[in-house]
């Protein structure tokens, strides 16, 4: 790991000022994405701004009709939260599938979304549920937030403060894990929302998380896994690597979407 200067702001405003003042500064919360890449020297930020001591940034609560999760809420906190379990059980289950127990004690939702790893779990939930990413500057819809591989709409001095999830009627997340890394080889989040159905896929796309329009249209007419029969997913634009070919991933998207719809329907 290369040298860096460590900063510990007490408020989001102080953190933002540190980002403005120090070019190429990086935010750190749980460190479970950033520390590994710094150790490999794939990242060498000259300044680290630690968000983990900012009070109130990890609150989980219902606000009106939305579930609001603070940026530094850890995966284990989301997985075990009674509020999340009541409001969007599929989201609690997703958080409980990230990494392993020790990783879930450190990793945060804000960190996962800011990094936008193409195989991370949270992006699928955020896109399928139509969540809003709230930053120190503005509110970003999920559709405008994700901008491809490790890329988001966040500006250099912008900090995610919370994520607002509207409540779906039904939802489920099914993940096919890479056995070694525990990241999603393919993960599918299906959400039946009041006005539409969304199917978001992580792990498979070479450009990060994406939606499957053909599945969404069919499921909007009737929310049953049977309507997906005969609709194929193209392998074009999907990842191909030693873990699986693009064709294999395309096949998995179909299988996992069916399972997710079944799981969502079984929750009634």
């Amino acid at each position: 790991m290369y040298e860096f200067k460590y900063h510990r702001p007490g408020t989001v405003r102080q953190a933002a000022n540190l980002l403005v003042k120090n070019e190429d500064a990086k935010l750190i919360a749980g460190g479970h994405t950033l520390v590994p890449v710094m150790k490999q020297r794939l990242a060498s930020p000259p300044h680290l701004v630690d968000l983990s001591h900012i009070e109130g940034l990890d609150t989980i609560e219902m606000k009106g009709r939305s579930l609001v999760i603070g940026a530094t809420a850890k995966h284990a906190e989301v997985a075990n939260s009674a509020v999340v379990g009541e409001a969007i059980p599929a989201l609690a289950e997703l958080a409980g599938l990230i990494g392993d127990p020790a990783v879930r004690h450190r990793g945060t939702i804000g960190g996962s979304l800011a990094n936008n790893d193409p195989t991370a779990d949270y992006p699928a939930a955020v896109l399928a549920l139509g969540a809003t990413i709230v930053t120190n500057k503005r509110r970003l819809k999920a559709e405008e937030y994700f901008q491809g591989l490790f890329s988001t709409a966040l500006e250099a001095d912008e900090i995610i403060t919370k994520v607002m999830f509207p409540l779906p009627k039904k939802a489920a997340y099914i993940k096919f894990r890479n056995q070694a890394s525990r990241y999603a080889l393919v993960g599918v989040f299906v959400a039946k929302r009041p006005s539409d159905v969304r199917v978001a896929v992580t792990g498979a796309g070479s450009d990060g998380v994406f939606r499957v329009a053909a599945f969404e249209e069919a499921l909007k007419k009737r929310f049953s896994h049977k309507v997906l029969d005969g609709i194929a997913v193209s392998a074009e634009g999907l990842n191909s690597d030693l873990h699986g070919s693009a064709e294999y991933r395309a096949h998995l998207i179909g299988v996992l979407t069916r399972r997710a719809v079944e799981a969502a329907n079984a929750k009634d």
Binding site: F4, Y6, I28, P101, A102, V103, R106
Partner: protein, 161 residues
């Protein structure tokens, strides 16, 4: 350099460290608590698991500065020197839960955390699921699972947490 202070195994510790020092480095090299191991150094294997404010974390992926002001417990903190072993350690000894022993400190710290979270009556299925972040290359896990099930039960009758 950054000034840090924390409680390690019940004792206050103050130090001046380079901010890039990992918690595991700080424990092993500064405090000479070498029971915590570095296996893969990529947060996969779990040999470096310690408790941070009572929760199992991978100390190879945690900066020492981020533990500043917090409480750390390592394998050395489970039972005092010369005193009887912690029930989870005793269970690993009794049930042959180790061969080379390299993964054992992490296995035991993970197991103790598991008991704190899920209680004393643990099914094999739950134990195997919870061990997904700890790798052992000797035992095939059979005896580790048996050790943890027995250690969890023994912890119910022990004063050691």
């Amino acid at each position: 350099m950054a000034k840090i202070s924390m409680i390690v195994n019940g004792n206050p510790v103050n130090a001046n460290v380079d901010p890039r020092t990992l918690l595991v480095q700080f424990l092993r090299e500064n405090l000479r608590l070498t029971g915590t191991h570095v296996g893969c150094d990529t947060s996969q294997c779990g040999a470096c698991v310690v408790h941070l404010d009572g929760k199992a974390v991978k100390s190879c992926t945690t900066l020492a500065v981020m533990a500043d002001g917090h409480e750390v417990k390592t394998i050395e903190g489970l039972a005092a020197d010369g005193a009887p072993l912690h029930p989870m350690q005793e269970a690993f000894r009794e049930h042959h839960g180790l061969q080379c022993g390299f993964c054992t400190p992490g296995m035991i710290m993970t197991a103790v955390d598991l008991v704190h979270r899920k209680g004393h009556d643990l099914s094999d299925e739950v134990i195997r699921e919870e061990l997904e972040g700890n790798l052992c290359r000797c035992t095939g896990y059979q005896n580790i699972v048996a050790s943890i099930a027995a250690g969890a039960k023994a912890m119910a009758k022990s004063d050691l947490a």
